[in-house]
Each structure stands twice: as C-alpha cells, then as structure tokens.
C-alpha cells in the first residue's frame, strides 16, 4: 500500500474508532494531526530529493555541453584534468555507493561508467595531442583498464566490457592490418576467461570463447588459397575443431560428476559454446556447391596448401590435440568413477563418442576425393547432432541446449529447402524420411517427458 493509501486507511480507521467510542473526539483530532504532519514531512522530503536529482542531472548536462562548446578553447592541460576528474569521480562514486550497500546497482553502473570514461580518455587525449598511433592499441589499453577494474571492483559489467574490447582489438588488428595477432588467444584464455570465471559471468566468458575460433578462422582464411569454397571449408573445420575442444574440456572438468553439460550456475559455458561451434562447423560443411564445384576440387585445392602451411597445421593440430586429450582424460575418469561406484554422468561417454566422431569426420573429409561424400555425410551428421543436442538438453534439463538444437534445426531446414545441392526429389525424400524419424523420436520423448514430470517433485532428483 502506498503512503497515500496508508494515510487514507488510517483516517478512515480513526473515524471508525471515534464512532465506536474507542477514542474521544479530541484523541481522534490529535491522531489525525500527528500523521498528517508526518505525511507532509515525507512528501516534502521526496520532493526535495526529486528536485535535487533533477538539478544534478541538469548541471551535469550543462557541464558536458559547456565543455563540448568550448573544447577547442580550453587549454590542453585543463582538458586532460577534466577527463581525469570525470573518470576518478565516477569510479569513486561507484565504489562508495556499492560499498555502502544502499545503492549497489547505481554503484555498479558508475563503476562501469568509469571504465567507459577511461576508454574515452584514451581517445580524447589522442585527439588533443594529435597522436599518431596504431589505433587498435587504444582498444587493447582500454580492455586492460576494463579487466583491471573487473578484478579490483569485482565488476561483471567491466569484465564483459573487457572481453568485448579484446575481441574488437583482434578484429581490427587482423582485418585492417593483416596481423596474426598471436597474443589474442593467450590474453583471452589466460586473462579474460579466468576473470569471467571469477565473476561467474557466462556472458563475459562467451565473448572470449567465441573470439578464439573467430580469430583462428580469420587467420586461416588469410593464409589460405582464398576462394569462397575453400574459405567456407576452412571456417567449418575450424569451428568444428574448437567446438570439439570446448566439449572435451567440459567433459575433462566434469566427467565424473553429474551434469557435465550444464555445469554449476554461472560458470564458463564450455559445453554450450562447444555445442554451438560444433554444430556451426558441421553446418558449414554441409554445402555441396553444385554449380561451381560439384564433384570438384575444393579439398584438392585445400589439402596441398594445408600440408605445406606450418602455421595452419600447427593451429588446427593444437586445437584438435586439446580435443583428443580432453576426451581421453574424460574417458579415463568416467571409467574409474564407474568402477569405483562413484556418481558419474552417463551422458559423458555418449558425448565423448559424438565429439570423437566429429573430429574423425573432419579429418577424413579434408582429404582429396572426399568432396563427393562430404555434403551427404555432414548433412546426416548434422541431423543426428541436432537430435542429440535436443535429447541431451532434455536429459540434463538444460534449456539452452534444447533451444540451440531447435534453432540449428530450423536454420538447416530452411537452408536445405533452398539448397540446390540436391535435386527436388532427393530433397523431398530427405524431408519425409527425417520428418518420420522425428515424429517417432518425438513420441518417445513425450513418454519420457511425462515420466520426468511425474518425478519432478521427488526430492531425490538433482536440479
């Protein structure tokens, strides 16, 4: 009930008490006067507070406009001082507000503003002094400041900002300057990801997890022979390898415990990121390029280059080795836990098997002569992977997996409908066969879902 509502209720009650003889008329008047005075004081306080906030906003906007209008006239050192003052005030205000625990959200917002002002400061100082610098370095320094703030202030928004800026840094280094930027994966894996893990921020982690395969694919594409088909093949293989590596790392970390797929709340989303990139990679490898390269020479062009390119082999080989190692460790842990009778995730061996199959497929289908079979094989693999993803999501009660599987399924259906890789008849046969299979699978899932709902309130069921 609002204060006004409380006042009206109290006045009605006082009137009722007087009518019932519980209090005298004089007492009723004294009570009414007391609470009306308190109400007026409260309203006055709120009015003052509102006016103060509005006044502060107007002053702030006015100060900004003043600086903007007179920026070129203001001496350089005053401009620098203004930038420093704004950044420091934002940081200090944010820390004190959040430390006082009365306005934590406002405090966190001000800390993020401070991190943004640090970046603004870098660019403004560069403009003030006409600094000629390699501009992606500005993004790197800004990312450094944001990640430092994330560490020191335990700020999740700053961690996200830092991860985004690191990604932007490598994007400009690679796209605009053609540099391989080997420092990016090290910074993403050793700085940004641990900070994201500490902050328990899947969003911050997701930017780093997505950034690494994109970084790798961009380098491979730049090093490769460079037409559209080989580029797509390389991008698909890269995404597939990274997806498998992330899934293997997830299994490595959680194979002997329950919920290897979902993981603890807020943790780095290795499994979901892995599934996303594995499915994306498989999707990119489903195309047949009927008009330009049917029965053609995509892998015949690619394989000689790949054999001769030490950096490319090293990059893909390292990622594949991480995936294989992770799978091996996960398998050993799973079988040990099972032998010892400890709790284990029964999904793990199935997932590990799927990952191994994907890796082997990618390796096999890079060889010359595989072009004729690759689209067919990967269409089938993608279809099975989508079903597996949705099934794994149901089994582990992971909504993200279910949504991912359904999204990829929808994209694949639309793509295959318009894909000229197959003849119309072949496409219709595929859709009918796949549809029947899904109907059967759906029926089985529905039975399982009803059983799951029936056991939902069982305290023994782990959530």
């Amino acid at each position: 009930m609002t204060a006004a509502g409380q006042q009206r209720w109290l006045e009605a009650e006082i009137a009722a008490w007087e009518a019932e003889g519980l209090i005298s008329g004089e007492q009723a008047r004294a009570l009414l006067a007391r609470y009306r005075a308190r109400r007026d004081a409260g309203q006055h306080g709120r009015l003052v507070g509102t006016l103060a906030v509005l006044g502060a906003v107007l002053v702030g906007v006015g100060v900004i406009l003043f600086f903007a209008a007179n920026w070129e006239r203001i001496p350089k050192f005053v401009r620098v001082a203004a930038i420093l003052a704004a950044m420091t005030a934002s940081y200090a205000g944010g820390f004190e507000l959040s430390a006082g625990r009365r306005y934590p959200r406002a405090g966190r917002a001000l800390i993020l503003l401070g991190a943004l002002l640090f970046g603004a400061g870098i660019w403004l100082i560069a403009q003030i002094f006409h600094l000629e610098a390699h501009y992606p370095n500005g993004l790197l320094y800004w990312a450094g400041g944001a990640l430092l703030t994330a560490l020191a202030a335990r700020s999740t928004p700053a961690a996200i900002l830092g991860a985004v800026l690191l990604g932007a840094w490598t994007l400009f280094e690679q796209a605009d300057f053609g540099r391989p930027n080997l420092a990016y994966p090290a910074l993403a894996a050793l700085v940004a990801l641990p900070i994201a893990h500490r902050q328990r921020s899947p969003v911050a982690a997701a930017f780093s997890l997505a950034g690494m395969p994109i970084w790798a694919a961009a380098n491979l594409l730049r090093w490769s022979p460079g037409d559209e088909e080989t580029g797509m093949l390389l991008a698909g293989v890269t995404a597939l390898c990274f997806g498998c590596a992330y899934l293997a790392l997830a299994l490595w970390r959680g194979a002997a415990t329950a919920s290897a797929l979902t993981g603890p709340r807020g943790a780095v989303p290795w499994p979901l990121a892995g599934a996303t990139f594995a499915l994306a990679g498989a999707y990119l490898l489903t195309f047949g390029w009927r008009e330009t390269r049917w029965m053609g020479n995509v892998t015949a062009d690619l394989w000689p280059w790949l054999r001769a390119s030490a950096p490319a082999l090293l990059l893909l080989g390292t990622v594949a080795a991480i995936a294989v190692t992770g799978l091996a460790v996960a398998h050993v842990r799973f079988w040990r836990a099972r032998s010892a009778g400890e709790a284990h995730d029964a999904t793990a061996p199935w997932l590990a098997g799927a990952v191994a199959l994907l890796l082997l497929s990618a390796a096999a289908l890079l060889f010359p002569g595989a072009d004729a079979y690759r689209p067919i094989a990967f269409n089938l693999i993608l279809f099975l992977a989508v079903i597996g993803t949705v099934a794994a999501g149901y089994r582990s009660r992971a909504a993200g997996w279910i949504n991912l599987g359904l999204l990829v399924f929808a994209v694949d259906v639309v793509t295959r409908y318009f894909d000229l890789f197959w003849s119309l008849l072949d496409r219709s046969a595929f859709f009918i066969g796949a549809g029947l299979l899904l109907l059967v699978a759906g029926g089985l899932l529905e039975r399982g879902r009803r059983r799951l709902l029936a056991g939902l309130n069982d305290p023994g069921v782990e959530t």
Binding site: L84, M87, I128, H130, E132, A152, R154
Partner: protein, 209 residues
Amino acid sequence: MATARPAPRRATFYLAVALQALFLLTMAGFHLFTLRTGERVLLKTQPVDPRDLFRGDYVRLSYEISELDAAKLAPPGASFQRGDAVWVLLERGQPHWQAVRVSTERPVPAADQVAVRARVRYHHTLAPREERPADRAPDRPGPPPPPRPAAALGLAYGIESFFVPEGQGRALENRPDRRINLEVEAAVDRFGNAAIARVLLDGQEVRFE
C-alpha cells in the same frame, strides 16, 4: 543457496583507479613535456585537400622532410630497413626547417639545429626519371612535383595525423584553391620526440571552434 560475493577491497580498487589515471597522465604528459620544452620548428607540408579538413576525423599530413634522398643525406654505405629507428638532423631555414642529415646514430646538433627521431617507412633505390604528363593526377594543377630522388627514404615522425573536429574547419571551405599549403609548427624535445603545436595557413594559426 548462493553465497554472497566478497566485497572489493578499497585499497585494491583505488590502486586500480590510480593505475588507469597514471596511464592517461603518462599519455598526455609525454606530449605536454614535448610541447612545453621542445624547440619549435616550422615545417612545410605537402598540399592538402581542404575537403579533408572539414570532413572531420584525422587528416594525413605529409611533409617535405617525409621523403629524403638517402644518397645525399645518409652516411656512405648506410642501409635502412622498414621499421628502423633513425635520427634526422634539421637545420633552420627561411622559413622552413630542412633536413641536412639522416643516420642511425644520434647526432650532436649545432646551433639552429635539432635532432628528431623518425621511423623508416620505405627505402627505395631508383633510377632518376623525367615526369610524364600522364603521371600527374588530373586534379593537381600547378607546377610539376620535383623528380624522385635516387634513393628515396620515406620517414614517419609521429606528427602525420592532425585531428579536426567534425563539421568544423569552415574557414577553409570556400577557398578557391583545389589544394592548400599548410605549415606545421612542431615542437621537438631533447629526446628527439616531435609533437604538433600549431597548424598555420597563410601564416595564421588555424583554429577550429
């Protein structure tokens, strides 16, 4: 039940803020030092399209000293690679400062001389050739450019970018010249670092408001 996150430590937080402030101060401080303590040198730029100046963002500036004849100015047998750090000795001229020597070792400047740091962008050895009419860009009226030197050494001094606020520079918008000649007054400190102090048009400082 989720555990409460530990509160950030005050000292650690303010140390992080101080480091960021120190970074910005260092960025600005180096250039403020150069501007305050450096010797002022007047440099002639290569012609600039005035449209670049009011388009906003950075304008690329190129100077007479941006490309030197290494055969004349460098020590005999000197070789330069892209990315090499070199020293250029500038001598006061009337009115513009000219390059009189380039070397990898730091020179000792005499009176009316300053030594400025530069980085090699390219080093070409060319056979001299006469300019052909077709080589001249159609929108470049005026006298033909000087012939390329026999050993062209392209240098960057760190003063090749000039920031113009977007939409400003109207003073230059209605000039009839297709290209304009700017002069740049740069400051060169005792460590050889250069910074743009003023940009001049017809001897007057160009102000953007």
